[in-house]
């Protein structure tokens, strides 16, 4: 009988331990409503960030609140298109954005690159929930060299 009870209690205990872990993300027990976290602000510092690898779409160093991107207007291209860069002093979307998937160059931004926010996002000052242990390829190569 006692053994049975222990066996029955086991999943409950594991669930409790798990709940404790979840509570570290939630910052409150499951049966309580925590204080809502403060809403992070979008970084608008206009400083280009490092890219983690060459093919990475760069993150956006400015805010994009209410920039309209639809059939009528592409607000991003108001600054980033080829013919606007002299006035806006923004970097032109790279040449890949004018290529179709066969590699032909188009006169306008390619339809598959039209919705910029599929790939490019602004950043906020939120604290990361988990530690990032991504290792840059340069770091890996350096580490390897040191080993030799």
């Amino acid at each position: 009988m006692k053994k049975w009870l222990i066996l029955l209690a086991l999943p409950v205990v594991t669930a409790l331990v798990w709940a404790e872990n979840i509570a570290t993300l939630r910052n409150a027990p499951l049966d309580e409503n925590p204080e809502p976290p403060y809403i992070p602000q979008v970084l608008n510092e206009d400083i280009k960030r490092e890219r983690a690898y060459p093919m990475q779409p760069p993150t956006i160093p400015h805010k994009i609140d209410n920039y309209q991107v639809d059939l009528n207007n592409n607000q991003c291209m108001h600054c980033h298109s080829r013919h606007r860069t002299e006035i806006s002093q923004a970097p032109m979307v790279s040449v890949t954005h004018y290529m179709d998937r066969e590699g032909n160059f188009l006169a306008e931004v390619s339809p598959r690159r039209y919705f910029c926010n599929q790939c490019h996002v602004p950043q906020t000052n939120a604290k990361p929930l988990v530690e990032n242990n991504f290792k840059d390829i340069r770091q890996i190569i350096q580490d390897k060299r040191k080993e030799q």
Binding site: H62, Q68, L71, N72
Partner: protein, 197 residues
């Protein structure tokens, strides 16, 4: 018939030189009457200026008013809210009356349903927007400047993008607010071939 019987003697009285009142009194009376009339006229203008009046037409309510609610001019950290007349009716009296005359055309459009569905509104939107752009361009974005003045802008507190644009093109007088800030309050129409866009 009765009206005519009543009007005839009245006309005779008005036509005859005054015997009971001095000329001075009549001039003063006319002056005061004029003030009362002008005041009433202004109050009527004031009343039509309210946002409530604008959105009493669903053409205005279900399109542009709804869209305004997603923008910074509806809610912001400063708690200042821009209403339709802040941006669309010049505060200057003579300009204001000129604008009201144009507004009669809107009543006409409303009566005949030129934009009474979403589709018709969108089909006409470029043209309506162009009227507004032309007006802002002609008055050097007067309405924007009623709230935002270049003199009070602290460029050091603006983002780099804003600072560069304002210092490079605004203070030099080369461009005005509406040249760069189209679509600040509503969704934009099809922008193909808009000059400078």
């Amino acid at each position: 018939m009765r009206a005519i019987r009543w009007i005839k003697p009245l006309w005779r009285t008005l036509n005859r030189p005054s015997v009971h009142f001095s000329l001075g009194f009549l001039v003063m009376g006319g002056f005061i009457g004029g003030i009362v009339f002008w005041g009433g006229f202004n109050t009527a203008l004031e009343a039509t200026n309210e946002e409530r009046f604008c959105i009493s037409c669903h053409e205005m309510e279900s399109n542009v008013y709804r869209e305004l609610q997603d923008t910074i001019h509806w809610a912001n950290r400063s708690g200042v809210r821009a209403t339709c007349p802040d941006c669309h009716v010049p505060h200057n009296w003579t300009d204001k009356i000129a604008r009201k005359m144009q507004a009669s055309k809107e009543v006409w459009g409303w009566l005949f349903g030129t934009i009474n569905t979403k589709e018709k509104f969108e089909a006409n939107r470029r043209e309506l927007a162009e009227h507004e752009w032309a007006r802002f361009k002609a008055n050097n974005s007067l309405e924007c400047r009623n709230c935002h003045s270049v003199e009070s802008m602290d460029f050091t507190r603006q983002s780099k993008r804003a600072r560069d644009a304002h210092a490079g093109f605004l203070v030099t007088g080369e461009k005005t607010c509406i040249d760069c800030h189209k679509g600040i309050a509503h969704r934009l129409p099809n922008m193909a071939d808009v000059e400078d866009w």
